[in-house]
């Protein structure tokens, strides 16, 4: 073996070592943040005179304890996977887009609205449901795509504009649901016409979990491939790293930004479609359930990696599912889950400061060999 090949072997070993250390760091720091948040929240519970042990037991049994609660958790994780992706994809191109809630509501509303003439004319579900899904994704995609367009071509800050557009989307739904498209039968809670049981999206065979969960996993895989294995993804990530350099390289930065935002909006719109077609059966105020905002936290915890979004979404789906049990058994307000999420979010962002700080995760210094 010549000296050069020996050097090359050492370099490859070093590179894989560095990669493993990186991976360990990106696993251990967020998990540490989760543990720290759990400790802080337990202290909070002790201060207000509740038992942390009971709380975590209830979260466990309510979230994963039985096959019923597990399915409930996955059911709630389904929209979170999609809204998590809706934050993660723009984040990779350097945009902080927080309008997932609005795209979900608008997508859900649009699919419920398009369903009305189709259902009334007895178009079979096999045709109706794909049309509904497509319309929901298109509505969400255009809505958030516009945020990306405004960002690149008009210089409008995407964080503020996307949240404003969420409020506008909710107002649009309310406007129609309480007006032109109101089902006269919905007295207490203005809603669109129910799509009827024949048009409902059913469960994945053998479970009560609706197909939205499977769709979310499939989309997560597709988007992971798109973002890390294609030219598009490479260009997007490069733009996220340094937009000016990307532009100087001749990359179509504007097109990339608008596409990433449109993909994000389509994900959230699809979540809205499943909420309508699998859960509520119609569009009404129940669509505004905060899934879009929890999705932001899911994406941050997953470090904007589409695959990791799935398990993190399941975790928060379980916490949401157990929230009801905690509310009933411990007599705590429904905002308990919000407080826990807020603490996790803040602690998680504080933990960002620890990247590169621990000696343990740094590759050993190379001495004079390089």
């Amino acid at each position: 073996m010549t000296a050069e090949t020996a050097d090359a072997v050492i370099a490859v070993k070093r590179a894989s070592n560095v990669k493993a250390l990186r991976l360990a760091e990106t696993l251990i720091i967020p998990i540490g943040a989760l543990i720290a948040s759990a400790v802080i929240f337990s202290i909070f519970l002790l201060i207000i005179g509740k038992s942390p042990v009971t709380f975590w037991q209830l979260i466990w049994t309510g979230g994963f304890g039985s096959s019923f609660s597990l399915q409930n958790s996955l059911q709630r994780a389904a929209p979170l996977v999609l809204t998590g992706l809706a934050f993660a994809i723009p984040a990779r191109i350097g945009l902080t887009m927080i309008g997932g809630e609005g795209a979900l509501v608008l997508g859900g509303f649009a699919s419920a609205a398009i369903a009305i003439p189709l259902v009334l004319n007895h178009v079979p579900p096999v045709l109706t449901l794909p049309v509904m899904a497509l319309i929901g994704m298109t509505a969400g995609g255009i809505w958030i795509g516009a945020v990306g367009w405004l960002r690149y071509y008009r210089g409008v800050n995407e964080t503020i504009s996307s949240l404003l557009m969420s409020y506008i989307a909710i107002a649009i739904m309310n406007f129609f649901v309480e007006g032109a498209l109101r089902d006269p039968a919905s007295a207490n809670k203005p809603s669109t016409m129910p799509i009827g049981d024949a048009y409902r999206v059913g469960g994945i065979p053998g479970t009560d979990v609706h197909w939205g969960f499977a769709a979310g996993i499939a989309l997560a895989l597709v988007l992971w491939v798109l973002m890390s294995r294609t030219t598009f993804g490479f260009a997007a990530r490069m733009t996220g790293g340094n937009p000016r350099a990307a532009k100087a390289q001749g990359l179509p930065v504007g097109m990339l930004m608008v596409s990433c935002c449109a993909i994000a909006g389509a994900c959230a719109g699809l979540a809205g479609f499943f909420e309508v077609a699998a859960i509520h059966g119609q569009a009404n105020a129940s669509l505004v359930a905060g899934y879009g905002f929890t999705g932001i936290l899911v994406s941050f915890l997953a470090r904007h990696n589409p695959i990791v979004v799935v398990p993190v979404a399941i975790l928060f789906g379980a916490i949401a599912a157990a929230g009801g049990v905690v509310q009933r058994r411990m007599g705590m307000p429904d905002a308990t889950v919000l407080v826990l999420q807020g603490i996790v979010f803040v602690v998680l962002l504080v933990s960002e400061t620890f990247y590169g700080r621990f000696k343990l995760f740094q590759p050993p210094s190379t001495g004079d060999r390089v």
Partner: protein, 305 residues
Amino acid sequence: MDHPVVVVLVAMLGGAIRVSTPFMFVALGETLTEKSGRINLGLEGTLVLGAMVAYATSYLTGNPWLGVLAAGGAGLILGAMHGYICKLPKVNDIAVGIAFMSFGTGLAFFFGKPFIQPTAPHLDAIHLGDWTGSPALAQALEVNPLFFVGIVLAIVMWWGLKNTKWGLIVRMAGDSAASARAMGVSVDLVRFLATAAGGFLAGIGGAFLSLYYPGIWNQGLSSGQGLMAVALVIFARWNPIRAIFAALLFGAAGAIGPSLQAIGITQGYYFFNAAPYILTLIIMIISAGSKSAARDVPGELSITK
């Protein structure tokens, strides 16, 4: 005086004065924070927590002004936390703002649950319009003292930023951290204090919401007003005086829906409810492209880069 147009205009004037006050306080706080080179998007959460704390304090002590002070204190704590976390390396202030939005609202909903039902003592208004002899105009001119506090504060802040040593230090930290450090100024400390003070003001804005107008506490009290105020700061180009006028404009937009309802037009109520958001968005589109905004922006601000 009974012409429908007059009724709507008078109602909008009154509405503008009432609705604008929380905008004013949040916008003034955010102006100070952004002048120091940091952005706090979490003021929406501060506004909601301030509203809850003010209502609870007023209910428990019977003194609404104590509630205003407590709301400021709650805002101060949230602002100080935001300011401290943002000074850690590698932490993104926009993301921290989003986190505090949900943290503040979560805390407010959690502790505010028992206070949704009871009625707390409200802040008194100053009756400026009794001499007019018109009940509608008199009602429109019932102005809360906090409105005047906000205007005085804006003038003081505008003057102070321009003419005092403290103002210079804040502007220097915001325009060029490197030169501030060269002058021996601790940029982190300046920004910490500016963020904490901004939180204090936003908390007071929340107190106005729950203790004066609409004068109730519930979970839908502020839907995005704190965030609109942040957009308003950009529109006002980081000038406290202009922020007052921008807040009045936003207030008037927010009052369109209720004013039309006053003369019996309920059609499109939800559309007019969305008017402030649409107006904010349009204003952002116009002001983002303008050259004067680019000239006035603090150099260290991450949101406009």
